[in-house]
Structures are given as structure tokens and as C-alpha cells.
Amino acid sequence: MKAVFTRPRSLTDGATHYCPGCIHGVAHRMVAQILDEMDLADRTIGVSPVGCAVFAYDYFQCDFQQAAHGRAPAVATGIKRAVPDSFVFTYQGDGDLASIGTAEIVHAASRGEKISVVFINNAIYGMTGGQMAPTTLEGQKTTTSPAGRDLADTGNPIRMTEMLATLPGAAYLARGSCHDIKHLRATQKYLKRAFEVQERGEGFSMVEILANCPTNWGMSPVESLQWMEENLVPYYPLGEFRSPEEVE
């Protein structure tokens, strides 16, 4: 089996609470694998959001803090300032990061806060039962946009990574996807670069990961991956948006 599918040391044993086929579990594994590779876990404090990943603290073999909805970057700032030699990452959904927590993410990035953000964009509010998110696509049906998202009424889906790329403090920004193995590997590479940027003290880093929510999208896991490829990826371009080399 490929290394991608073995259980990293930085993950706890046992099942997660995520729905079958949900990418949260895959993303956890990718993060844990980089923590393993870089031997970071014993110096790491993770910050879990309010959203489906609230229980991330149960799954990672490292210290954790659970933050209020959207406030993870502020909490991470407090931690990193208190323990500068630690490795601090937040793990946030798109409701958490791109709606209620926009001020915190923008200013953490703007300050060049030496933290890493794992941003799971599944274009919907998973935990609360499938309401519209700021990242929900045009025409996408959710429980609060039952006729499909109407841009004239609700504005356009926010591209957070591009928005943060206007800030000099954001040293590393990338967007990956998990709809197939190839993109999963690229995302893993982005995560590693992001974590290295923090370790080198170069500033703020974030990897946006396009993800699914088969449960609230009303699709099978396989259908959801296909929907990602056909709809999410075209609207949310993949790749690196900022890296220290580019900044120099």
C-alpha cells in the first residue's frame, strides 16, 4: 500500500465521527503525515474550529485547544506568542474561516503571524445541517438557498486564498483539492511547504483544501468527488498563490 494510506503516528487509533466518504478524515491524515515527516507533533498545538472538525482534538496525537466559532487564528496567535518555539496550526471550515471568522483570518495573515492554517472548503455548513456558506457556488442548493444560490441576492462566492494573497504578511498560500489521488499528493506537498514556512519563521501560511460534504450535498461519496471536479475546481483555481521565493 502507498504511504498515503498508512496511519500516521500523529493520529490516534480508532474511528472518527465523520460521515462515510467525508474528506475531513483524509485531510486529518495528510496533516498528521506531515507532522510525522517533520517530527513536529511533540512541539505542536492544534486549534480546532466550530464545525464538523470541532473534535479534531480527539484525532491528533498532539496538544490541542478548541476555539470559538471563527476565532481559531486569534487563539493560535495567543498560543504562538506565548510559546514561540512551538508549531501551531488551525484547522477550519469555510463557515468558520470565510464567514464569522473573516476578521481573524485576515489580520492573522496581515500580521504575518507564524501559524499555519488548514482551510477546508466544502462550500457548505456541514455541522449545522447544510446551510449556505460564503463559498457556496452559484445555483447550489442548500437548506437556506433551497432554490439554489442567487448571486444577485447573496453576492459571489468568496475566494479566500486570492483575497489573502494581497497581504504581504501571508508568506505561503496554496489551494489544493482532494477529489483524486493526483491532487491529493499536490495538496500534501502544499501542506509541507506551509508547515516549513512556519518552522523557518517566514510568516503566515495557509493551505485551502477543496473538500466535499456528501451528506449535505445529498450525494454519494463518489458523486461528490465528481461534483467537486466539475464545479468546485473550475471556480476555485488550484495551485500556489504565494510562496517565500515569490515574495523575495
Binding site: A41, D42, R43, T44, I45, V47, V54, Y57, Q61, C62, D63, F64, Q65, Q66, A67, A68, R71, A74, V75, A76, T77, G78, I79, K80, R81, A82, V83, S86, F87, A103, E104, V106, H107
Partner: protein
């Protein structure tokens, strides 16, 4: 030692320096009048002692930075004034729920809404009854002099650490802005403080993983957590009551805290000079409220006059602390207007006359 000499300082700077002396090396805040001198002082002082001063993007962010830093085991403080403290309420609830020690300063100004920038005491309910959601309590201390504010701030960090709970210093625009001579305690080296075994600093060589959290999805587990908190709050009620009674042998008592207590004291002196048997009860801990002060006066007190810079908030706790047969009158000014001692004197005279004393 020169460090222990009397120094003339401004209230807001006095709290800041007291925090530094107590080993606080992390401060997160957002500008708001009338407490701006506090973060301004910290911005210069923290670098001198190897600490962190950070101006957050909002009070919401500031209190969550406090959460993160407190969870990582350092002594940490934030300060604000009424509208900003309102924004911090969610964070304070999380801090109390996750049992994190920190010190929060509120230099209260007139409300509601944007209100005024003048002194007020109208955040009493918010601070003592839990302005955020859920059943939580925090120790709230209301100093009346700068020396007392320095001493209470220094102590507040110990109280916070002892109970793993937020502690609030409740001042007002006057106490933040006034100047008085104070003596600061010696500078504490935070490295000499006991280590917080529960803190999340990264696992290092610890056996267990640490978690800072207020989520208990299972209602039974959340109930157990609440019961644990309730036991802790009962301990605070047992140990953290602070108050001053002046002329405890009097028949009538003014009740006031903070700046208002200074004015009430002047009225008390005037009234006594005119032959009225008046004393003063000055709550210092506003939560836990000093019910004991009133219990101890139960067999002599014939009436109380609570005075506040509010429409009447603390007076409710006074009424809960005395027998219903004893009159508790109220006099207050709100919105940034301070009560005048002559008006307080008049109100007390009316109370005494009204209860049948003809003098």
C-alpha cells in the same frame, strides 16, 4: 528599595505596571476611551521586560488571543471599556468554560450603546451575573483607590491561577484617569511561578496530551462539568469575599463601591458631623458579593442607602443580603454623570427621617 517608593501615577498605568509586577508578560487589547493609557503603557513596557504587547484587530480577537495564551500557560491580561467588554463576552464564557486563568480590566463608561466616555458603574450586572452565555462566574474586584487597584491587580493573577478562572478588575473612567501616589510590589520573575501542568505548550516529554476545551456534547458530561464549576465557584464564595466596613457600630449605612465609595465616604463624614449615626459598607469583591458584611450588621442596621453610578444594579444584591424588614434605598446617576456628595447626604437624611428618626 527604590522600587518600593511612592510614585505618582495615572490609574490606567498603575494597573498595567501592577500586572507586569505580577509576572504578566502578555497583553492583548484594542483601543477604547477611557482606558487607552493602559495598552499604551503596555506597548512600551512589555518590550522592556521581554513580554508581548499586541494590538488586536478587535476586542473579539483580543479576548481569543487571551484564551490561546492563557491555555498555553502564561499570565495574560486584556483591558477595555464597556462596549469593548460587551464584545468580549463570548470569549469570557469560553475562558470560564475551559477554565483558563486571566485578568480582564473594565474601565466602565456610560451606556447603553455607545453611551458616553465618562465614568459609570452600569456594567455591574454584566460583570457579576455573567454577561456571556452559560452558568459561569468570575471574581470581580472593584478598587476605590489606585493603591488598592495596584494591590488587587497583583493579587488577581494569583486568584486566577488558583481557581483557573478569569478575574475582572472593575474600574471606571475616574479611577482610570486619576493620579495618586502608589507603591508597587516587587517585579516578579514569571519563571519562578509554579508550572501549569495542564497547559498546552506542546507535548514535549509529557506522558499525556493536554487539551483546552469547553465542549461536552454529552449532556451528562456537561452537567458533571457544570457541577465541577459550581464547586469551584462555591470555594470562591468561601474564600474570596472582600469588603470594608467603616463605623460598623452605626445604625444607618451607605453602600457603595469604587469611585462612588469615595464620594459616599465624604457624605458619611458630613452626616456624622451633623449628628447622624452613619457608616459605610464598601464591597470590594463584587462577585462574590460580601453578604457577610450585611449579616454581621443585621442586629443593628436600621437602613441602607445604596449609591451607584447606574440606575440601580448592586442595590439588588444589597436587598438580597438584608432582611426584607430593613429599608434599602437607592440613589444613582447614570450615563457618565457622577453623584454629588450633597445629594447623597440629602438622600440619607430623607431615609433616616422616613424611618422615624426625628432629629
Amino acid at each position: 528599595m527604590s522600587e518600593r517608593q511612592l510614585q505618582m501615577v495615572k490609574g490606567n498605568e498603575a494597573v498595567a505596571e501592577a500586572a507586569v509586577r505580577a509576572g504578566c508578560r502578555h497583553f492583548f487589547g484594542y483601543p477604547i476611551t477611557p482606558q487607552n493609557e493602559l495598552p499604551e503603557y503596555m506597548s512600551g513596557r512589555m518590550p522592556e521586560v521581554g513580554g508581548t504587547f499586541l494590538q488586536a484587530e478587535s476586542e473579539v480577537a483580543a479576548i481569543n488571543m487571551v484564551y490561546g495564551a492563557a491555555g498555553a500557560g502564561v499570565r495574560v491580561m486584556t483591558s477595555s471599556s464597556s462596549p469593548g467588554i460587551s464584545l468580549k463576552q463570548e470569549g469570557i464564557s469560553y475562558i470560564a468554560g475551559a477554565e483558563l486563568p486571566c485578568v480582564i480590566v473594565n474601565m466602565v463608561r456610560g451606556g447603553p450603546g455607545l453611551g458616553s466616555i465618562q465614568p459609570a458603574q452600569s456594567d455591574y450586572f454584566q460583570s457579576t451575573k455573567g454577561g456571556g452565555h452559560g452558568d459561569y462566574r468570575m471574581v470581580v474586584l472593584g478598587p476605590a483607590t489606585l493603591q488598592e487597584m495596584v494591590d488587587l491587580t497583583y493579587e488577581a493573577f494569583d486568584i486566577a491561577d488558583r481557581y483557573r478562572n478569569p478575574v475582572m478588575i472593575l474600574g471606571d473612567g475616574v479611577i482610570g484617569q486619576m493620579m495618586e501616589p502608589v507603591r508597587f510590589p516587587d517585579l516578579m520573575d514569571p519563571d519562578t511561578l509554579p508550572t501549569k501542568e495542564w497547559a498546552t505548550k506542546g507535548r514535549r516529554d509529557r506522558e499525556e496530551l493536554n487539551l483546552i476545551n469547553s465542549l461536552y456534547l454529552d449532556p451528562d458530561a456537561c452537567w458533571a462539568h457544570n457541577q465541577h464549576l459550581a464547586r469551584k465557584y462555591a470555594e470562591m464564595q468561601e474564600n474570596e469575599v472582600r469588603y470594608e466596613v467603616v463605623h460598623g457600630d452605626a445604625e444607618y449605612f451607605l453602600v457603595a463601591y469604587g469611585t462612588t465609595a469615595r464620594i459616599a465616604r465624604r457624605s458619611m463624614t458630613d452626616l456624622r458631623e451633623r449628628g447622624y449615626d452613619v457608616g459605610l459598607v464598601r464591597p470590594i469583591s463584587l462577585w462574590p458579593f460580601p453578604e457577610k458584611a450585611f449579616r454581621d450588621l443585621a442586629d443593628r442596621a436600621r437602613g441602607y442607602l445604596a449609591v451607584e453610578m447606574s440606575l440601580g444594579q448592586m442595590v439588588e444584591d444589597v436587598r438580597l443580603s438584608v432582611d426584607s424588614s430593613v429599608p434599602v434605598a437607592f440613589y444613582g446617576t447614570a450615563g457618565g454623570v457622577m453623584p454629588h456628595h450633597a445629594d447623597i447626604t440629602q438622600q440619607m437624611e430623607d431615609l433616616i427621617r422616613g424611618t422615624g428618626d426625628d432629629r
